[in-house]
Every structure is written in C-alpha cells, then in structure tokens.
C-alpha cells in the first residue's frame, strides 16, 4: 500500500514516515502545496495523509483536486485545528477521516487500516489477528471458529487492540478511548486492570494465539504469533 504524507513540519513528517515504513507501507512525502500537486500529478496513491495548513495553499484545495477524477485514493486529514467546522468541511469535500494533532502513532496506524478496510470491495469488514476474527458491526468474536462471549467493555478493548496489532498502546489513551475523555494520567487504572485481566483470561482459556502483553507500566501491545 502506497501512502503520501503531505505535511509542512519536516520533523513530524519524518517520524510519521518512519513509523509507517515500519508497518510495511511504501511512503512518500511532500512538505509543501506545490510539491504535493506535482507528486499527485505523476503518481497515484492508495492513501494520502493531508495537513490542512500548508505553505503555498490550503490542503482543502488539494483535497478537491484529488477528488475531481473519481479516484479510489483514501484521504485522511491531519490538522492542528480540532474544530467541528473544519472536520465537517473536510469530510464534505470527501475526506475519509479526520485526525487532530497531536495524535498517537498507534492511532494513525489504526485509522489507515480502518479506511483501507472500509474501501475494500468484497464487503468483508471483519478484523483478523491470528486465529481471532472479530465482526465489529455484529458484535461477535470467534476464536478458531468458536464464538466467544465478551462483555461490552471487553469487546471494545479487544476491538481497539485488533485495530492496532503490534503497536504499543498507552493505558491512559486506551482508557480514554473506551471510557471517555475524562481519564487523567494521574488516575489509578484499577478499573482498566480488572477488565484487562478478564479479557486476557478469556483469550487464553479459548486458546487464542494472540496475546495482549503489558509493556513497562506504559500500556499494552497486541502480539500476533508471526511477530514473536
């Protein structure tokens, strides 16, 4: 999968590119409006990560340019402006997703996988990691073909990890994603630990070959057998 990063901050562009290359994507970068226009004129990309505020022009203009010929390119807007108006404007122009700065690398990776999955033609929206298959819309999880009963929160946590396999997930970010914005870094996470314990036990009991591992008191990582 080929990705174009359009971002004027070179440092951020570098780290995004490095992270995505590590995930196995082919990555190209453009640090300004005109460079992006040139690259888009010559090559085609599966996904564009687009900053709105660019030297030389607005990212929104670039977006409408990409959208004019009906291409299958996915566009994720990456903007420092976290306002609903900008989101609505971007999505109306045909962006597939909107990610506000600053973001976590795991989140970026999840969004790219998510837009790619949605644009798949075969209509198979299920998530697969190892021998675990999840149908998020139906709310069902299968391990080796056998359905597993998960509680609502456990299901959400597993879904969050299956969107970000192999990535480190900050426990505060996870808690925020599942319980809402009102989690602070300083809160103790016993509520999260309890859920994680149950989920890990259920996965193990049902013979899943994926594992959610704790990392340095930072958070967790979903490991797939191939990664081991």
């Amino acid at each position: 999968m080929k990705i174009l990063i359009v971002e004027d901050d070179v440092s951020l562009m570098e780290v995004m590119a490095a992270a995505l290359r590590k995930d196995g994507y082919i990555v190209e970068c453009a640090s300004g409006f005109h460079e992006a226009v040139q690259k888009l004129g010559i090559y085609s990309y599966d996904c564009i990560l687009l900053d709105i505020m660019l030297p030389g022009g607005s990212g929104l203009d670039l977006l409408s340019m990409v959208r004019k010929p009906a291409t299958n390119t996915n566009v994720i807007i990456i903007s420092a402006k976290d306002s609903i108006d900008d989101k609505v404007a971007g999505l109306e122009l045909g962006a597939d997703d909107y990610l506000a700065k600053p973001f976590h690398l795991a989140e970026l990776s999840a969004r790219i996988r998510s837009v790619a999955r949605r644009s798949r033609r075969d209509g198979d929206f299920s998530l697969r990691c190892g021998n675990v298959v999840m149908e998020p819309e139906a709310g069902r999880v299968y391990i080796d073909g056998r359905q597993v009963e998960l509680l609502k929160k456990e299901f959400s946590i597993l879904e969050y990890f299956m969107h970000r396999p192999g990535h480190m997930v900050d426990k505060a970010v996870l808690a925020e994603a599942i319980w809402g914005d009102h989690i602070d870094q300083a809160d103790d996470f016993s509520f999260l630990y309890a859920q994680m314990k149950n989920l890990r036990r259920k996965l193990q009991d049902m013979g899943a070959d994926i594992e959610i591992k704790a990392v340095y008191g930072f958070g967790y990582r979903l490991t797939i057998p191939d990664d081991k």
Binding site: S11, L12, A80, S83, K101, P102, D170, H182, G217
Partner: protein
C-alpha cells in the same frame, strides 16, 4: 446616587440658604419702611398738637376716630434737659379707644412754651405686631420655598432628561458592550461638545479593547495551534523509540515518564484551546438538554472508574433541569463538576447531587472552605490538589455557564463544598 437626585438635592440646599437670607433681609426692609412711614405721620401729628398747644387752641379729643393717642404733661426743666427732645420707641400701651394693650409706636417730644414751661408730649399709634408679621412672612416663605422647589425639581427633571438623552444612549450602549461583540456604532447624535468628545473617547476605547481582545484571542489560539505539531512530533518520536527492540528497561522507564509529562502538556494545551473556543462562542449549536440524564450517565461512568475509592453518589432529583445549551459542552460541564467532587472526596464519602426545575448542585464533604474568588480562575489549585490535574476544569465549567445564561457559584456549608448551577 442618580445625577438628577444629586442636582435636586444641591438645589434644595442652596435654595434653603438663599431664601432664608432673603427672607431675613426682606423682613428688615419691610419693618424699616413701615417705621419710617409711621414716624413721619407721628411727627406731623405731633407738630399739629404742639402748634395748637402753643397757640392756646383747644386740643382735639383723645377719641377722635383715629387710633392715635396722645398725652401731654408738664415736666421740670431738669427732666427736660436730661433727655433727648425727640425719641421714637415701641411699647405696649393701653389703647383707651380699643380698651386693650396693643403694640404701638411712640413718639416722645419735649417742648417749651413762651413762658419757659416744659412739656412732654407722647404720641402713640398702634402699629403692626412683630410676631404676626414674622409668622406671616415665615408662612409665605415656606409656601414660596415649596413652590420654588417643586418648580426647580420639575424644571431640572425636564432639563436633565432632555439634555442627557445622548448620555443615556451612550450608557445603554456601554451596558451592552462586550469586547469582541458586534455592536452598532456609538450613538453620537448630539451637538453638545462634551458629549461628542465622550462619544469619541468611548469609540476609541472600544475599538482599542476590541483590537486587543482579538489579538489576544488570536494569539492564544495560534500559540495553541502552533504547539500541536511539535507536540505531535515529540510524542510520536517517543512512541517510536518505545517500540524499538534494543531499549533497556531502565531507558524505557525514563521514556515512559517523559511521555507521561508530554501527554500532560498535550492535554493542557487541548484544554486551553477548548476554553478559548468556548469563550469565542465557537459552539453555536444549542438544543434543550436534560441534565438529569447526563448526571445518571456520568455517575455510571465515574463509579466504574473510581470504584476502588468507594465514593457513593446520592442523586436527589426533584425534577429534571432542562436548559438550552450546546450538548457537547453540557456533558463537559456535568463531568467536570462530578469529577471534581470525586477527586476531592476521601474514600467512602458521599457526593450529593440535588436537582430541581431551576438548577442543580453538586456537593462533596470537605474540611475547610476554598477561596470562592479564586476557585474558578485558571490554574487555581487547592493545597490538597491531585497530581496531574490541570487546574482548569472548574474554569471551563464556569466559562460554559457564563456563555449559556447559567450561573455557577461555590459555597461551603455544613462541611460540604457546594457547586450550584442556576438559570440566570
């Protein structure tokens, strides 16, 4: 004190002093004039009597239809020489004509006939009663005073109201003025120089405020926006490092700490941006929000997050409080207040949520009151502050309330911190 009242009060005081002085002078002048006239007539009358006496003509009878009375008696030479030959004085005399004592003006003259005999003539004419004239003058002055006061009051009300119209218009304008708000031009439809100058000054000051306000707003917004990208870059680099396999556990631990600090910074920056956006009115969509539902949902969420604290929430909902507000912000308001109560309660404490049609309150037990003036300021933290809190949650709650016609107040009663939200 209203200007009109002040003007009237000063006029009343000034008029009192002025009219009193005037009345005193008027009284003196009147008395003087009356005396003068009386004295003239007494002199004429006494002249006639003396001429008659000296020429041996019979003197008129005492009771001659006038109120004038006279006495003539012979006096010794020594007596005559020992006193002035003509004196005027006031005296209470018995008027035989009227058979009563009356206040009278008396002329006493001493004269000598051709035989060198001395006579003393007293001529008396009843005159006005001083007390009567004083009393009547006083009544007249009081009447005049009241009349003048009423007219002055009426005139000044009219004059002030009429001439102060431009001032009132400007005051109304100032009442409505808020930096950053779109306003009609400053009313300056007047040809009074002072008011024109005032209007100019107001216009200049307001435009200066507006500019400063906009610049400050833009600065905070831009600063926060500009921070987002480097923050993203830093945070992502640390995440990359944490993913790298050659990291020792010690290094990882340090990196995790840096990452935590950075996340705190990101959160603070995001919260400041939120605050700026609330204050800029960037959440225009409103709908009627039922706060009782929000409280029930939030309580469920927090009780799960803070289950190990054993804090209990006592919901006392008499009637749902429904208010027109941005829903996203209503959620933030409720959660900030509830979260604040959770964070600052000891274990096993009971938080009380009270709600009726006019508003709601969140109370949690505490030892000593907080500084009510400071508590809604940004970055205010009590001594028992929890590590990691930004000190901005209550500032946001307050800002939301102010922007949607609610009032947020703090009180400490019965060893409880009480945060109340009411419709304004």
């Amino acid at each position: 004190m209203r200007l009109l009242l002040k003007i009237t009060a000063w006029l009343a005081v000034a008029l009192t002093i002025l009219l009193t002085g005037w009345a005193f002078c008027f009284y003196l002048a009147t008395v003087d004039e009356i005396n003068d006239e009386t004295d003239d007539s007494l002199v004429d009358y006494s002249d006639g009597l003396i001429i008659r006496k000296l020429s041996g003509v019979e003197l008129p009878s005492d009771d001659n239809g006038t109120n004038n009375t006279y006495y003539i008696k012979e006096v010794t030479r020594d007596y005559a020489m020992s006193r002035p030959w003509i004196t005027f004085e006031y005296q209470e005399v018995f008027m035989s004509a009227k058979s009563e004592f009356e206040s009278a003006r008396i002329l006493t003259r001493i004269f000598r006939d051709s035989e060198d005999r001395f006579f003393e003539l007293k001529v008396a004419v009843p005159t006005f009663e001083k007390e009567d004239i004083q009393r009547s003058l006083l009544w007249w002055i009081i009447g005049l005073y009241v009349l003048m006061l009423l007219s002055v009051l009426g005139i000044s009300v009219w004059v002030v109201n009429y001439n102060m119209k431009p001032l009132k218009a400007m005051l109304r304008w100032l009442d409505e003025y808020n930096p950053g708000k779109t306003m009609p031009p400053v009313p300056s439809d007047t040809n009074i120089t002072e008011f024109r100058r005032l209007a100019d000054t107001i216009r200049n000051a307001a435009s200066r405020f507006d500019t400063q306000y906009l610049e400050q707003k833009r600065f905070i917004g831009n600063a926060s926006h500009e921070l987002q990208t480097p923050l993203a870059s830093c945070s992502n680099r640390i995440e990359m490092l944490l993913d790298s396999p050659d990291l020792t556990p010690g290094q990882a631990e340090e990196l995790v700490k840096v990452h935590r600090e950075l996340q705190g910074l990101i959160r603070l920056n995001r919260t400041l941006l939120l605050l700026t956006r609330i204050e800029n009115g960037q959440f225009p969509e409103t709908s009627p929000v039922d706060f009782s539902t929000l409280f029930r949902d939030s309580e469920e969420m927090f009780s799960e997050i803070y289950q190990n604290r054993g804090v209990r929430v006592d919901m006392d909902i008499m009637a749902p409080f429904i208010h027109e507000v941005n829903e996203q912000l209503a959620v933030i308001l409720v959660r900030n207040l509830l979260k604040n109560a959770y964070l600052h309660s000891r274990t096993e404490a009971v938080i009380t949520v009270h709600m009726d049609k006019s508003g709601f309150s969140v109370s949690n037990p505490g030892d000593r009151p907080l500084d009510g003036d400071m508590i809604f300021d940004r970055f205010y933290r009590s001594q028992s502050a929890t590590e990691g809190s930004t000190g901005i949650g209550l500032a946001i709650a307050d800002s939301i309330c102010r922007n949607y016609g609610l009032s947020l107040t703090y009180a400490f009663s019965g060893n409880m911190h009480v945060f109340s939200v009411k419709r304004q």
